[in-house]
């Protein structure tokens, strides 16, 4: 019926999740992924060219890409989720709403506005997003706070991911439409945010510990 307020049935689990006004996805999974993949490729190219001109090491160039990528993802994608509680009602095909409608098939707590998920995404979007862009600046300009900043953000990402998974387990781990979405979205899409922050944290820990070893050896030399 034209002008009807009748809600479409949603595809999410648990089936009794109440989402009045839900509007199905307009974009296909491949559309959504290809836009995100294009963004990633373009960003990688831009940061790689930019960091090459600054004569940075390969590790620094990869880090500059990562922090730009994760920072923009946090601010734009996750920031939209945090401040658009009714994204599942979007009937314009707006890309960011489509992403979260699709991702909710892997974790319906997004559509259902679970307090734990909103909290983690809020801290990620508002604090870690801008901090990640600051890390790009800190690495390119060689600031003395570069490692401690990268360590702080990575630890925040790891803590957030831990809260994300542990709350799901405690609440029954039954938020995926099926096991494809469980592994592809819920596990797969978050996997980079476990592996990469772990590697960066360990690297920063070592660099910082080494700096204090140098400092204490310098003091010993001076006091001789």
């Amino acid at each position: 019926m034209a002008g009807s307020q009748a809600s479409h049935p949603h595809p999410y689990v648990p089936r009794d999740l109440h989402l009045p006004g839900y509007v199905p996805c307009f974009l296909s999974q491949s559309n959504i992924l290809s836009v995100f993949a294009s963004f990633t490729v373009i960003l990688f190219s831009l940061t790689w060219i930019f960091s090459g001109r600054l004569k940075k090491t390969k590790v620094d160039r990869l880090l500059i890409f990562w922090w730009a990528f994760t920072g923009l993802t946090h601010i734009v994608l996750e920031g939209y989720f945090v401040f658009a509680p009714e994204f599942f009602k979007d009937n314009t095909g707006f890309y960011l709403a489509e992403v979260w409608k699709e991702y909710s098939k892997g974790d319906s707590r997004y559509a259902g506005r679970d307090a734990g998920v909103v909290t983690v995404e809020g801290l990620t979007a508002v604090l870690e997003g801008p901090a990640s862009l600051l890390a790009v600046y800190a690495i390119t300009t060689g600031k003395s706070y570069s490692y401690i900043l990268q360590f702080a953000i990575s630890l925040g990402q790891l803590y957030g991911t831990a809260v994300y998974y542990i709350t799901a387990i405690l609440e029954g781990d039954n938020f995926s439409t099926n096991s494809f979405y469980y592994y592809a979205y819920y596990i797969g899409a978050n996997f980079s945010w476990i592996v990469i922050p772990s590697i960066i944290s360990i690297r920063c820990w070592r660099k910082i510990s080494a700096a204090f070893q140098v400092q204490s050896q310098t003091k010993k030399h001076k006091s001789r």
Copy 2:
């Protein structure tokens, strides 16, 4: 009735929180607080004497006390909560169960086993607790990872506290029996874990940044 399984009415808010088998507190508020205060005073005395013999600075001696205090609190008090989901049924007057029965008057999510609270307390008890005791060891033996470890734990404590309060706000902020318990327990008892980790984080950030400034100046000197 003797031998009756009838549950006592609980004192928590929201009133419709379902806690079958609840057994009221045996200890008074002043009993519970005086045990915790005694533990704090004894621990302070022990760590102060111990760190004095090691000829540590006053700041290091206070830090040794803080990390011992917060580590034992995380492991013993919060660890008990994490692994004793039915503490509110305890009918033996066991101190740790009494603490959480009493604290639940400030935040009934403890008795109600809210997933966000259990997650934060789990990470705190299992990771941050032992890491805090490692910080005692790192400070007393002057390890090069001392600052980065203290920074990591403090950041974890701050992240956990943020999750704790933000989830409560998103869920309606209605978990206190009355405003006395709201301010005394929910705000007051957590206040130290906002202020002290903030101070320690800032201090560690500065120390670490300074170490890298020294390192880069040393390199410049050498390259001249």
